[in-house]
C-alpha cells in the first residue's frame, strides 16, 4: 500500500501527480532545484525538499539526492513523472534497492524497450510490422550503403539508445550517407553514451499514432485507445487528440490488438504507450514509451479514467480493475502551451467553464526559468465530436491570459484554424506546411 509518495519531477506533471495523490489520500513530497523554489508543485505538496542547483544533472537527475529525500521523508514510493529519470532503469533499480517502490515498469522491461534495435526485434516477434530497416546495428559505412540501397532512400539513422529526436539523421541520397553516419554516431555517443546506430526507411509525412496501455504485471493488459500526435514541430508534439480524425476502424482495431499482444509478450507492468507511424493503409511499430506521457489527459477524458491513479494502483500490486474494453466517449483535444520567452508571470487567468481541463504549474508570480522544458500549460477539451472540440479549444485559448512571459498560444490557434488541421487530413509535416517552413521535408 502506498501512503506517501515522492514526485521526482517538476512543472505541470508534478502538479498533476500531486492532485491524484490528494484524491487518493496519499501524502506527497515534492523535490525541486533552487531555480524552482516557490514553484507550484512545492507549494501543493505536503512537503518539499531542495535537491540541488538548477542544472538538471545536479538536481532532477541527481538520483542520490532524490532517493535520500524519499527515504528521509519516509516515502513508500517514487513517481518519476515524464522525462528526467522516468525511463532510466538504473534509477528504478536504485529506488528498489533503497526499499522503495518505483512507479513504472520493471528495470529489465525499460532496458528492453529502451533499446531501439532490441525493441524492433520484440515487435517483429509479436507479429507487428516494423519499418523496413536494419535489425542489427549498422557497423560500418559500406554495410550501411548496401542496406540503404536495399531499403530505398530516404532513410533515417537513429541512435539505438535514443529517443525524442536526438541523434536522428534523415538521408536522402547515397552521397550524404557516410558523413551522416559519422555525425549520428557521434551525437548518439554524446547524448546517450552509446554510439550504436540503426537504419530505417524514412516514412515521409506519416501520421503519428500511439496506443495507450495499462498492464498490471499479473497477466492483464488493456488498451485505452489511440492518440493522434501528428502535429509536431521539430519532432516535438504540439497538439494531440483522441480519437484520430483519420483512421479506418479495422486498422485501429488491428493496432490495438497488436499493442496489447506486444505488452503481454514482454510482460510489461504499468502504464505505457506504443508509438506507430501510419501512412495510407499501412502502419509500423516505432517505439515504446515506458512511462506516462505528456498527452495522457486526452485519453483520460475520453475513457473517464485517471492514468496516474492506475499507475499507483498497479505499483501497489493491485490487479487492474477496469472494464475491458474500456468504453470511450466523445473526442478530446490537447494544446501544449510552451513559453517562447521566459520571465515572471505577472498575470495568469486560465480558461474555465464547460468542457475544459487545465493542467499547469502557472500562477500569478510563477517564475518560468530557461533551464527546463518550455511546457507551461496543457489546455484539454472534451466534447462529443472533433468539430466541437476545435471550436471549444479556440474559445479556451482566446480566454487564456498569461502575462509576463511569451507563449505559443497564437501559433496554436493558427494551426487549429488551418484548413488541413480542420479537415483532419494531415501528417507530421502539418506545422511546416502551415508555416511554410523551408526545413519542411
Amino acid at each position: 500500500m502506498i501512503r506517501s509518495l515522492l514526485i521526482a519531477n517538476r512543472g505541470e506533471i508534478a502538479v498533476r501527480i500531486i492532485r491524484t495523490c490528494q484524491d487518493m489520500g496519499i501524502r506527497t513530497v515534492a523535490v525541486y532545484s533552487q531555480a524552482d523554489a516557490g514553484s507550484l508543485h512545492t507549494k501543493m505538496a505536503d512537503s518539499a525538499v531542495c535537491i540541488g542547483p538548477h542544472p538538471s544533472h545536479e538536481s532532477y537527475l541527481n538520483m542520490k539526492n532524490i532517493i535520500t529525500a524519499a527515504y528521509a521523508t519516509r516515502c513508500d514510493a517514487i513517481h518519476p513523472g515524464v522525462g528526467f529519470l522516468a525511463e532510466n532503469p538504473l534509477f528504478a533499480e536504485e529506488v528498489e534497492r533503497a526499499g522503495l517502490i518505483f512507479i513504472g515498469p520493471e528495470p529489465k522491461t525499460m532496458r528492453l524497450v529502451g533499446d531501439k534495435v532490441r525493441s524492433r526485434h520484440s515487435a517483429l516477434e509479436a507479429g507487428i510490422p516494423v519499418t523496413p530497416g536494419s535489425m542489427e546495428p549498422v557497423s560500418n559505412s559500406e554495410e550501411g550503403a548496401k542496406l540503404a540501397q536495399q531499403i530505398g532512400y530516404p532513410i533515417i539513422l537513429k541512435a539505438a539508445a535514443g529517443g525524442g529526436g536526438r541523434g536522428m539523421r534523415i538521408v536522402h541520397t547515397p552521397k550524404e550517407l557516410p558523413q551522416a553516419l559519422t555525425i549520428a554516431s557521434q551525437e548518439a555517443l554524446s547524448f546517450f553514451s552509446d554510439g550504436t546506430i540503426h537504419m530505417e526507411k524514412y516514412v515521409v509525412n506519416p501520421k503519428h499514432i500511439e496506443i495507450q496501455l495499462l498492464a498490471d504485471g499479473q497477466g492483464k493488459v488493456i488498451h485505452l485507445g489511440e492518440r493522434d500526435c501528428s502535429v509536431q514541430k521539430n519532432h516535438q508534439k504540439l497538439i494531440e487528440e483522441s480519437p484520430s480524425p483519420y483512421f479506418n476502424v479495422a486498422m485501429r482495431k488491428q493496432m490495438e490488438t497488436d499493442a496489447v499482444r506486444l505488452f503481454t509478450k514482454i510482460g510489461y507492468r504499468g502504464a505505457g504507450t506504443i508509438e506507430f507511424l501510419v501512412k495510407d493503409e499501412n502502419y509500423w511499430f516505432m517505439e515504446v514509451n515506458a512511462r506516462v506521457q505528456v498527452e495522457h489527459p486526452v485519453t483520460e477524458l475520453v475513457s473517464l479514467s485517471d492514468i496516474i491513479r492506475q499507475q499507483i494502483l498497479i505499483a501497489s500490486g493491485k490487479e487492474l480493475n477496469l472494464p475491458n474494453p474500456v468504453p470511450r466517449y466523445g473526442h478530446a483535444l490537447e494544446c501544449r502551451i510552451n513559453a517562447t520567452k521566459v520571465g515572471t508571470v505577472t498575470k495568469f487567468s486560465p480558461p474555465l467553464g464547460p468542457a475544459v481541463r487545465i493542467d499547469t504549474h502557472l500562477f500569478q508570480g510563477a517564475k518560468v526559468s530557461p533551464y527546463y522544458d518550455a511546457l507551461v500549460a496543457k489546455i484539454i477539451v472534451h466534447t462529443p465530436d472533433r468539430q466541437q472540440s476545435i471550436a471549444t479549444m479556440v474559445r479556451a485559448l482566446r480566454e487564456l491570459v498569461i502575462e509576463g512571459i511569451e507563449t505559443n498560444v497564437e501559433s496554436q490557434i493558427k494551426i487549429l484554424l488551418s484548413e488541413p488541421f480542420q479537415s483532419g487530413i494531415f501528417g507530421t509535416d502539418l506545422y511546416a506546411q502551415i508555416y511554410d517552413d523551408p526545413k519542411k521535408r
Binding site: Q34, A37, T42, C50, P53, I67, T68, F363
Partner: protein
C-alpha cells in the same frame, strides 16, 4: 535631492495603491515596486558559503550549507562528542559534521579556518541541498 525626500517618496508610494514607481531626473533616479500577491518562498542560499545578510551591524559571519540531501549528524557515533563546538576554532580540513545519504556517511570538512558561531541544523534531521548547517566566523 535629500534622503528625507526619498523617504517621503517611499512613504507616499507605500501608502498608495500603486504597485510600481520609477522616477528619473538629472540628479537622481528612483524605481519602486511592491511585492506581488503571490510571494514566492525565499530562495535558499545558493552558494556554499556566502555573506550572511543581516540588518544589524555585526561581525561578518558566513554560513556553511549542505552540498547534498541527507541526514545531519554532529557526532561521529551516537555516544561520541560532537565534531565541533560553538565558540571553538576549527582549521581547514577539519570535519564539521557527517551527512548520511543512502547508508553512506559523508564527512563535511571546513573549507577555511573559522569559529563556529551557531549550529543551524538539528541532529538527525533531513537537510536539503543548500540548507544552512553552521554559522561561522572566518579567522
Amino acid at each position: 535631492m535629500e534622503i528625507k525626500e526619498f523617504t517621503q517618496i517611499i512613504t507616499i508610494f507605500e501608502q498608495s495603491s500603486l504597485s510600481e514607481m520609477e522616477i528619473t531626473s538629472e540628479t537622481f533616479s528612483i524605481h519602486l515596486k511592491k511585492p506581488t500577491t503571490n510571494e514566492l518562498k525565499e530562495l535558499p542560499k545558493i552558494i556554499k558559503t556566502e555573506e550572511k545578510k543581516d540588518d544589524k551591524p555585526k561581525k561578518s559571519t558566513k554560513t556553511i550549507t549542505s552540498p547534498i540531501v541527507g541526514t545531519f549528524y554532529r557526532t561521529p557515533s551516537p555516544d561520541s562528542p560532537p565534531y565541533v563546538e560553538v565558540g571553538k576554532p576549527i582549521r581547514t580540513g577539519d570535519v564539521v559534521c557527517t551527512i548520511e545519504a543512502m547508508k553512506l556517511m559523508n564527512q563535511m570538512e571546513a573549507e577555511f579556518d573559522c569559529e563556529i558561531v551557531a549550529v543551524l541544523a538539528d541532529q538527525g534531521s533531513l537537510v536539503e541541498f543548500g540548507q544552512p548547517l553552521f554559522e561561522v566566523l572566518p579567522l
